[in-house]
Symmetry: C2
Subunit: 336 residues, 2 copies
Amino acid sequence: MDLRHVGEWGLIKRFTRGSVVVPERVIAGIGDDAAVLPGPEPGEVLLATTDMLVETVHFRREWSTPEDVGYKAMAVNLSDIAAMGGRPESALLSLAVPKRLEIAWVESFSAGLRSCAARFGVNIVGGDTVASPNEVITISITVLGSVLRDRCLYRHGARPGDVLMVTGNLGGAAAGLALLQHPEMEVDAASPLLRRHRRPEPRVEAGKLLSALGGVTCADDISDGLVSEMYQISEAGQVGLEIYVEKIPMAPGVNEVAAFLGYDPLELALYGGEDYELLFTVAPGAVAKVARTLREAGIEVTPIGLVLPSGEGISSLRGLKRSPLPPGGYEHFRSN
Amino acid sequence: MDLRHVGEWGLIKRFTRGSVVVPERVIAGIGDDAAVLPGPEPGEVLLATTDMLVETVHFRREWSTPEDVGYKAMAVNLSDIAAMGGRPESALLSLAVPKRLEIAWVESFSAGLRSCAARFGVNIVGGDTVASPNEVITISITVLGSVLRDRCLYRHGARPGDVLMVTGNLGGAAAGLALLQHPEMEVDAASPLLRRHRRPEPRVEAGKLLSALGGVTCADDISDGLVSEMYQISEAGQVGLEIYVEKIPMAPGVNEVAAFLGYDPLELALYGGEDYELLFTVAPGAVAKVARTLREAGIEVTPIGLVLPSGEGISSLRGLKRSPLPPGGYEHFRSN
């Protein structure tokens, strides 16, 4: 039996059992966007997250500049801290690169990495570099951050009656990737869709606001697709979820790309992944304040659904028609 | 110009410039065994280190069991915390694995990882798993730890007149690797030399004792070879160093392996790497106490040299004959 049979989640479970030997030093371990540990200031917790980017899986040298790759590698990690409501602070980098890689590539990669880190006030404090035995570049970044202990936004915590909300808009990163995979669609190199794939923007500011506001019961970042994160929130909080399909905020241009390629635009928005928006649930009484505060900060935010009791499962509503939403999204160990 | 021209150090320098944007949140960044950050308890600092292991570079599936690989991946990171005098506490894992890898391999790898972590009281608190696009397994681990702020053992700090000391013995890991590379040498599978390569033991207890004792002016772990670490200590502290060749504690069996293969055993001890012993300098007045305390704890320790003024360079003494010690050790981006 190989990894295609158990999938990423089955794999993670194999690392979770017995992973904590000194419980008093962990507030929350494997299973959320970041680990939560005793923090550097009283009342604060330390957040720690790690994400790996592998060439051909997460980026291609012909589709992204080295600056883009560096920027994205940092951004996807900062997004995990944002999803906990935290302030990212320090980053460590592990990098496997082919010996024959041009120094210029590494210098530009490093500039992209620093540019994203600096923008969010993150110090790069350590790392390791090794020669890759094949031509594949592998990047692993760990980011540390902090948040007030009682303001940490966990994945669990959604309660029936809470409103499901999302920042920004969806489907853009998947449509951008589709554009790169289909060069026959001539497209302006400056298209915001390409940028969504190449340089995702972590929602650090939104995460901090959500943490400060109160009334936010759970949060997650959308890395593997909206539906995939809904399943995570549902499992973590033991709740059902429904979304209103007409409310899904589509990224501008997604409909056009989907029409050209014969895709369902909604598929891109629901299952595409890599949008790195925040998906979160809010107690009914706090929805108006949350929406107003984020919009005043220039952050688009949309109520897209509702939290239901656990037995209700995960479904979509189009008008009055309810359909179950099957799981899906990016799965690393898929058979095909 | 590619990476073979600048080497690992030249590569690291490209990530160091401009890496700190909020200086008050870093006590020491890139350049030591671990980063030093404001800590979770008053008077303590947080240590953070990351090390990547790549299949065929750091291990081979035919030479090490999956348990060995997991144990080693954790151990080399704990060794970096030990070299700072710290207590390791939490670990995060990034893992790229081929889709067709047997689940049994991952389960055993995970057991090895946990066994090393548990032995040293380390929780595994997070991670990321991705499918490797080729057959290569890549492992990146980040370990967090802590140490009293004024007891942190930096790489800099050696002063002329200090005594250079080393824990345990040297050359064992390199000899073990040589045994695996030369199956014509029939060897007991339980040979301690093989174990030195497959399951290095991080000197966590020694590091804690050295931190607590006082009088230890600098410390480093021997990952890339004794001479390589001497160059690091020399550069960081702006000092010269000399070692007495007759004093080098050779791992049992190294002479025999070297004789069989026609190697110089001293080469294995000085340049072999992966011994993961601690190399440290001690103020003259504290040497006796340091040696006694470590030996009482069952840790072998040997004075092997002296710290000299900066202009003196790095040399070895055999009897009264002084020779310069050329740099060397494992270099990832070497041309050949």
